[in-house]
Amino acid sequence: MTTAIFEQFINGTMMGSIYVLMALGMVLIYGVMHVLNFAHGVLFMVGGYLAHLFFFNLTGSYPLAILGAMVSLALIGVLLERAVFRALRDNLRMQIVASLGLIMIIQNGVVQIWGPHALQMRPPPVEALVRIGQLSFTVQHFVIIGVVAVSVAALYLFLTRTRLGTAMRATSQHPEAAVVVGIDPNRVYTLTFMIASALAGLGGALLGPLFLIFPQMGDAPMLKALSAIIIGGMGSVPGAIVGGLGIGIVESLSTLVVPTDYRDTIVFGVLILMLLIRPWGIFGVRVRGEH
């Protein structure tokens, strides 16, 4: 049983890392722009497809493919912010409509371009195995955990140590005041979307090879990430990290004791329970004026 727990712990950490990447992007966008971007999952998926494209058709190198996917996604993020979300800044309702519109366009567009069948790519870290006792994991498992850890650290440093990062936090807290001190909010919004999309792209490029690249590959991570940012306190970066990892691990460990067809029931049941016990999220603080 302990080996099983260990195995599931590693798997959960790996999936949790992916959720963290997604959650960070969503929490940035939500925190800075108050946009709940349901389309984040399809950006993740596009990341997978682009990594495939870069790997097979352009570079042949997996790290370059990841980089290519991230850069392309960053550009797509800029485009989306400018063309779609900027005009809807203060209209939460229509942001939801628009992001669903985007999901339809992108998901079906991908099927038009790449066909409905799942793609596969197997860069070296997916082929190579690490044996720990009687267990074995692909190297990719650890690559994912490591890359995510580094990205999270980098993002954290960016947000707290740099002028631009501080400006991002400032804008999220008080957009009008940001203008008054000379921050161009549009630039911050574009930057936010760019970073968030690049993170989604990174997620897709990391997970796609381990599993499959297909049009719905972003749906589940998006949902889990959404849950993660909510239990993390909506707008809290550490909350998103703990929430994402927590969901990944709970979901993996739960399968040792309950039938897998009830896995989501467990995950979401735990979520509900947690909210009932700590109604303001893990990291959320209760602030005056909120209810």
């Binding site: 005009a87 229509m94 409509v97 909210l275």
Partner: protein
């Protein structure tokens, strides 16, 4: 929202709806799409009470619709209960579940409540899919009977034909619409509205915010349950996929698109949301790409939904200057 606009729009919908069988009698497909749209209008009215008036977002409402649907379907199919009590039973089951979920969860802050509804919706879907013995599981529940025909005096009512079932759905929808009308125009509706606009103020003025939310949630889940029941009676088959998260999100979208907080928002939204993709069938694989663009355009140019657009057009048309808002 101007009252005259709302009343006018409601009246127009009612008249058009009642006349639809005459207008589209020769086009069963159109009538079919309208019936389906009405099946979504009902739960959308539920969401309107919850979101449009009370300000609570639910991303799991089709789960509650599913509870109503399976309850009604099983009552009619396996127990042989007649339509009206079965429908009420379905609505009741969904409403009771709404209360059970609402009591612990409605005290949560709004965005937590969103995720709770999402979670409850997922859990309900899992149950529909996995309880093979009860719900038929993933293979669905085929063979759900239509309401039995009956006659009052010389007039026969039957529901197997499209026209018959359309009229039945229309009557159910109209009743629920009337309920919505009465509720939102009452003191109760004003209290719900105050909860949406400012909870702290509402409770300082004596509104039992939790109680009102619970009532709104119960009503809205019960109405959704009735809608789900009509849907499976119409399709004569129940499937878990008909009540999954995507459907719940679509329901929310319908309302927003039609115009949340407008009496006829659910009607307009459901018809748009059902009819446009049907119309786009000619576009085959491209149809959801087109539909996606339609949504983007609407989001951009109809910030308060189609009803909002219509309302401003109506106001321009009337040019009836009300009291000038401004300084003294």
């Amino acid at each position: 929202m101007t009252r005259s606009f709302s009343n006018l729009a409601a009246l127009a919908c009612l008249v058009l709806g009642a006349l639809a069988p005459l207008i589209f009698g020769g086009q069963p497909y159109v009538l079919y799409v309208l019936t389906l749209a009405l099946c979504y209008t009902i739960p959308a009215i539920g969401v309107n009470i919850l979101y449009g008036y009370t300000g609570l977002v639910s991303l799991g409402h089709m789960g509650f619709a599913g509870v109503g649907a399976y309850t009604t379907a099983l009552l009619m199919k396996d127990v042989g209960v007649p339509f009206v009590p079965a429908l009420l039973g379905g609505a009741l089951a969904a409403g009771v579940l709404g209360v059970l979920v609402g009591i612990p969860c409605l005290r949560l802050r709004s965005h937590f409540f969103i995720v709770v509804t999402l979670a409850v919706g997922m859990i309900l879907f899992t149950l529909f899919n996995n309880l093979d013995a009860l719900t038929g599981g993933a293979e669905g529940l085929p063979g759900i009977p239509r309401p039995a025909p009956f006659s009052i005096g010389p007039i026969d009512f039957e529901f197997r034909s499209l026209t018959g079932f359309y009229m039945l759905t229309f009557v159910v929808t109209a009743l629920i619409f009337a309920l919505q009308f009465v509720l939102v125009r009452s003191d109760f509706g004003r209290s719900l509205s105050s909860v949406r606009q400012d909870e702290a103020l509402a409770s300082a003025r004596g509104v039992n915010v939790f109680g009102h939310k619970l009532m709104a949630f119960a009503l809205s889940t019960a109405i959704a349950g009735a809608g789900g029941a009509m849907k499976v009676l119409f399709l004569r088959a129940a499937a878990p996929m008909s009540f999954d998260m995507h459907e719940s999100i679509n329901l929310m979208m319908m309302l927003i698109l039609g115009g949340a907080g407008y009496l006829v928002g659910p009607v307009v939204g459901a018809i748009t949301f059902i009819a446009v993709p049907e119309f786009l069938r000619i576009a085959a694989e491209m149809r959801f790409i087109f539909f996606g663009f339609v949504l983007l355009v609407l989001a951009r140019f109809a910030p308060r939904g189609i009803c909002g657009l219509a309302e401003s057009a109506y106001k321009k048309l009337g040019r009836r200057e009300k009291t000038v808002v401004g300084y003294s």
